[in-house]
Amino acid sequence: MSDRNYSILIVGVGGQGVLLASELISAVAMEDGYDVKKSEVHGMSQRGGVVSSHVRIGKKVYSPTIEYGQADVVLAFEQAEGLRAIDWLKKDGVAIVSRTQLVPAIVTASKQFSYPDDPVGMMKARTDRVIAAEADKIAGELGNPRLVNTILLGALSHYLPFDEAQWLQAIKALVKPKFVDVNLTAFARGRELKLDAATV
């Protein structure tokens, strides 16, 4: 068992499956004998607002939320949300971001706000450790937009102290039987994602 703690901040927009991802990570860690805490806020966040889930893994975990600036991984289901969360990352942490773009009505309907032109570029300006993936396009190729979740988990898996087999076992245990195979494929596709060559 690893002696250090791991903190993963998962961010996205209500309805994207952020909470499912954090459940799966927690299940893998718990099965491996780690202490696990995770925290998210329900309620209004389900109505298209920002959703964030803090997952903490270690021999002994105190705070259910990550200390600002101490996340090992920021896992973003939406690129502007990835940018919003980027400063939670610690110095040698990794940001994994889906290039999904969800523009809220408040931006479309007003001149006061705008959606940034290149959120991933702005993330890269702050850290050279960014994995940016067209996860929604890959999910589309695999036939189900909901697979963004599993693709991102595949990319995340390199940065947590678990074997591939442990992840696959958790997917088999938690995903409905008829979706298991396509999720395993999505996970494999996610594992192929690496730190962007241009930024390494």
Partner: protein, 591 residues
Amino acid sequence: MKELMSGNEAVARGALEAGVRMAVGYPGTPSTEILETVAARYPTVYCQWSPNEKVAFEVGIGASIGGGRTLVTMKHVGLNVAADPFMTFAYTGVNAGLVFISADDPAMHSSQNEQDNRFFARFAQVPFLTPSDSAECRSMLLDGYELSEKFDTPVMLHMTTRISHSKGIVETQEPSEGPDLKFVKDPSKYVMIPSHARERHLVVEDRLARLKELAETSPLNVVENNGSRIGIITGGVSYQYSKEVAPDFDYFKIGLGYPLPMKKIADFVSKHDRVIVVEELEPFWEDMIKAEGIKVEGKKYLGVQGEFSPRRVAMALSEAGVLEREVPEASSVDLFPRPPVLCPGCPHRGAFMALRKLKVAVTGDIGCYTLGVLQPLNALDTCICMGASIGNAIGMEKVKGSERGTVAVIGDSTFFHSGITGLVDAVYNQSNVTVVILDNRATAMTGGQQHPSTGKTLMGHDAGVIDIETLCRALGIKNFRRLDAYDYDAALETIKEEIDKPGPSVILTTRPCVLMPKRIMEEPYVVDLDLCNGCSACFRISCPAIAAAEQTNKHGHPLAVIDETLCTGCTLCSQICPEEAIVLKSQFVKA
């Protein structure tokens, strides 16, 4: 067995293990999942939603006096509603144990205020327990029943959003039957006429004195000695944040939050150079400790607003000069906000579009429809508490009237919660208000719970059904209309007509919540980009399914596109599009 559970799930588990016979409450974030978990996972425990927290508490009191261990759940502001039965139940005490949950919401993730309900325990002179993680939610609920029965008192379990909604590992045990108690007639204890209540007040004072003694030796209050000259007094989730950033200090971890063990605290403080009290919201413990002449610090570094975090505690301890730790600057990323919005196809949208157009004064209430205040709908003028909309409208209309009318909007569950008495007032005092009951047949904001007109109980059984129209007419409402809020012109016309009528009117909207019981997925609509002129009328109805297209008009304003996977086919955008550019997908045939 070990299981990853939220604080709410752990309380539900504790209820099973304690042999609870009655679990009752009203939905309210962050407490809702407690009873939902009881209903879903522990069907041997009787549970129910009551129409509001006051009734829930009264049902709970009856169950306790009747001899069954009882759990009552509510969010913090729910205890305001239940305060009347609670304050006097503190006098009568229990038969079987009663523990109630007050789930506070520091930072107001989903609430209208961030009151600190620990004061309620002190106000009523009853003890409260304060768990710091999911495992303690389970174990302290069990401790709460012991305490309740041993000291003949209701016990509060004080939770916060982070405790309720964070998950941690819980070691569960086998369920128990709980004590076998019967109802025993005892009017001097349970009938609070003045002569009895005077006697009971003496009992309450004596009980509090005995609880103070217990607190000095209770294992719920834990001293952790690490050989530090710095001491931290804390409890709840603040304990976890403090341990995270300053694991080497000495700790006085409070589990029994009221009354405090002042001798033990004085002893702890005397052994340290500096002692900081780390508690969210008000200086509840700090002030009580200082009142004993014990020297501690706290709020001057930590503040009273919002919720804590490891960063906030680290900053405060650094500022106090006891912790050397680099705390990073707050993020400089400056981005658009992403507030929660009404769902695509939400039936509230049509009503708000009409109200905005009519420029009436609109008193609001608590529910999904409170989101109607946000840009670009901008359709609400007040929101105070559950059920307030109707009374607010009456008051507003009585003092000044409103040239264009005064409209109260209230959801169906909120109407049953505490809107009915407001409507009684409107009839009694013949107020010229128009009440729009946004009936979506669910307690939607908290996740779609059942209520008195949905036909199902929390446990999934068939229920008695209260018909809103019959009820309103029985109260004396003569102007009663039904409205399909997907029909924008009808909404405009109906509301306008009812505003113009003298006396109170009720308009009942008829479309169910799009999230339950089943989605009304009809054919989606699409935007014909050859016809769309970028006027942005459809953007202003705040539908998440409508987004800006890459194409722009000659002024550089974006045209609109509809996300077909989100569109429910409610038709509202198509009704207000001046260019008739929004059409059914099947009718959109391109050459």
